[in-house]
């Protein structure tokens, strides 16, 4: 086992699947000779050739729409959206088409595409290179939405996503790409879709997070530990379908829940988690279901002083945990 970054893990996972199954191809802007804006497909063009590593014209509807066509004709395409912020012009193809193919054909046609999108803030990307886009997809039945936080999960989940017969939105937090390192087995292994992971056990408060926020939550949990509060950290990993059981059983144990996400608060992913807890764990709750998220502004402002003021961080999470602990 070697220590790898999230980026390396995604790259390795894709490369292995491409070796394994020649139905897998990658299409996106600059994925060829340049190896992708973040270098996720570095070296792929030389290794797999132009037929499988397709530099696309600048047109996201086309990228996803064409990937859909490939998928319904027997291929397993991976469509790369250069930044998650640019996925919205492909929104119609994803929501009206990919998500509904199976249902509308009563099971005759599946649509096994993977749409990869680097998302998230903390990189001074400004309004259009920072966005969280998960709820727009996690609301849509028929889609699978994945958001790993560690290199291990990233590799295991990209492999499961490629093999899945359903359309997967695979969200790679760009701040974690090079920042987060961890042990990743060489060679084949998968992490199942739809399963959350308890990244840290604790008995007093449950924190639910995904992506970069998992790491911030773990940092905050360490701090609270020193203050005598046991914090359990759940990494959802897959946002749709949600692993409700893991969340419910943790909160039934701790009685208190904090949900952390970097998207803006209103109708962010944490809203659904709160709703589930308020209805299905009501009798177990010993305090309000709290959320730490970004404020309701259209997107992250560019200048770091403003950006960092908006983003959740370990301090804000620790503060919320203290409030809950004292409740």
């Amino acid at each position: 086992m070697a220590v790898k970054t999230v980026l390396e893990a995604v790259r390795e996972g894709m490369a292995e699947e491409m070796e394994r199954d020649d139905r897998v191809v990658i299409l996106g802007e600059d994925v060829g000779i340049m190896g992708g804006a973040f270098r996720a497909t570095e070296g792929f063009l030389a290794r797999f050739g132009e037929e499988r590593i397709i530099d696309m014209p600048l047109a996201e509807t086309g990228i996803v729409g064409i990937a859909i066509g490939m998928a319904i004709n027997g291929m397993l395409p991976i469509a790369e959206i250069q930044f998650a912020d640019f996925i919205f012009s492909a929104y119609d193809q994803i929501v009206s088409e990919a998500a509904k193919f199976r249902y509308r054909s009563a099971g005759a046609y599946g649509c096994p595409i993977v749409v990869r999108a680097p998302w998230g803030a903390g990189v001074h990307g400004g309004l259009y290179h920072s966005q969280s886009i998960e709820v727009q997809f996690a609301h849509i039945p028929g889609l699978v939405v994945v958001a790993p936080s560690t290199p291990y999960d990233a590799k295991g989940l990209i492999k499961s996503s490629i093999r899945s017969e359903d359309p997967v939105i695979f969200l790679e937090h760009k701040r974690t790409y090079r920042l987060i390192k961890g042990e990743v087995p060489d060679g084949d292994f998968t992490v199942p879709l739809g399963q959350a992971d308890v990244k840290r056990e604790g008995s007093d408060i449950t924190v639910v997070a995904y992506g970069l926020m998992v790491h911030y939550a773990l940092e905050a949990a360490e701090v609270l530990d020193k203050e005598g509060v046991g914090v359990e950290v759940i990494d959802l990993r897959t946002l749709l379908p949600l692993d409700k059981e893991t969340v419910l059983s943790s909160v039934k144990k701790t009685g208190k829940a904090l949900i952390v996400y970097e998207d803006n608060l209103t109708l962010g992913y944490g809203a659904e988690l709160s709703a589930i807890l308020a209805s299905e764990a009501f009798e177990y709750l010993d305090g309000p279901v709290m959320r730490v998220a970004s404020p309701d502004i259209p997107s992250m402002p560019f200048h770091p002083s403003m950006e960092f003021n908006c983003l959740p961080n370990p301090e804000k999470i620790a503060d919320a945990l203290r409030t809950l602990a004292a409740y």
């Binding site: 191809v25 037929e51 696309m56 014209p57 047109a59 509807t61 086309g62 996803v64 729409g65 064409i66 990937a67 859909i68 066509g69 490939m70 998928a71 319904i72 004709n73 027997g74 291929m75 395409p77 012009s89 119609d92 193809q93 009206s96 088409e97 509904k100 193919f101 199976r102 249902y103 509308r104 054909s105 009563a106 099971g107 005759a108 046609y109 599946g110 039945p141 028929g142 699978v144 899945s164 017969e165 359903d166 379908p241």
Partner: protein, 339 residues
């Protein structure tokens, strides 16, 4: 039938077209069938049994001529809501269409889930579509890529109206198909109307075919009421595609005889003269006259074929109407591959 309007067609050059007499009669039967299914759907609509319908009347020659030019069962068909004739000619029998229009449980396209007009049969390479105009066009580019990628010589034909050419999906799809010279035929059924919006408010150019110029492959306009001409042009495009010469945009100029759909009333926005005038371009009558005048068919056979169509449809309708409705709980399932 007294006057022969299409003298020029007196002879049908079967050999030149590469068609047998049986195939030509098959086309004719499918055109009659498409028309008759449409007419029966209107009746079922008026009886309140069919909630919604989009008819293919006026488009039959374009739809059926183009399908016959393809290798059915091998090539890939991506129809849009108006393509009843495409579905039929590609092998989906009228029973399918009635089951679908009635939203029955046995509807082979969608098990009663989709609004009528959404043809889909995986075993016949008819691809499921949405109601969103234009989204299928990039799909056709992707299916063509996949066929070629595997070294197969299947060609994809994807259908749409002239209104759909205004959408970004059209542009993005044709652009990529041109760059990669993919085996795909973009088949536009131009009836001059997008519901109430006439072509002059939809685009400046006279011919949709000319839009191909910007994508570096041929665009052809064809009289979409002439089934054999549609066949010829489409067969050439398919041959080019199969030989690796890339895509073709075909524009079949057709007429929309009925209102846009059962929810529409085109007398609100079209003049009586306009509506009256287009009846002179009935593709079914045109083909009938052509067949009779060229002695490919005689009047007795014609009657036989028509009676056979009627019988088939009587049976299909009865069977479809007797078929059970979906259960309420059929609404769930097939959201994901598992479950």
């Amino acid at each position: 039938m007294a006057t022969t309007r299409y003298k020029a067609d007196l002879q049908i050059p079967l050999e030149e077209l590469g068609l047998t007499r049986d195939e030509v009669l098959g086309m004719y039967r499918d055109m009659l069938m498409a028309r008759a299914v449409s007419e029966r759907l209107w009746i079922l609509g008026r009886l309140g049994k069919v909630y919604f319908l989009v008819s293919c009347e006026g488009h039959e020659a374009a739809q059926i001529g183009s399908v016959y030019a393809m290798r059915r069962g091998h090539d890939i068909f991506i129809p849009y809501y108006r393509d009843l004739g495409v579905a039929l000619a590609a092998g989906s029998p009228p029973l399918d269409i009635f089951l679908h229009a009635l939203g029955k449980r046995a509807d082979p396209y969608s098990a009663g889930r989709q609004l009528p007009g959404h043809y889909s049969r995986r075993d016949l390479n008819i691809v499921s579509g949405s109601s969103v105009v234009g989204t299928q066009i990039p799909h056709g580019v992707g299916t063509a890529y996949a066929s070629r990628y595997r070294g197969e010589d299947a060609v994809t034909i994807v259908y749409f109206g002239e209104g759909a050419t205004s959408k970004g999906d059209f542009h993005e799809a044709l652009n990529f198909a041109g760059i990669h010279r993919l085996p795909v035929i973009f088949f536009c059924e131009n009836n001059g109307w997008a519901i109430s919006v006439p072509q002059t408010k939809q685009m400046v150019v006279q011919d949709v075919a000319s839009k191909a110029d910007g994508y570096g492959f041929p665009g052809l306009s064809v009289d979409g009421t002439d089934v054999l001409e549609v066949y010829r042009v489409t067969r050439e495009a398919a041959a080019r595609a199969r030989q690796g010469q890339g895509p073709t945009l075909i524009e079949a100029k057709v007429f929309r005889f009925s209102s846009h759909s059962s929810n529409d009333d085109q007398t609100r926005y079209r003049t009586p003269e306009d509506l009256e005038g287009e009846r002179a371009h009935d593709p079914v009558i045109r083909f009938q006259e052509q067949l009779l005048n060229s002695s490919v068919l005689d009047e007795v056979e014609d009657l036989q074929i028509r009676e056979e169509v009627d019988r088939t449809l009587d049976e299909a309708m009865t069977q479809a109407e007797a078929s059970p409705d979906p259960h309420p709980e059929d609404a769930s399932g097939q959201v994901y591959s598992e479950g």
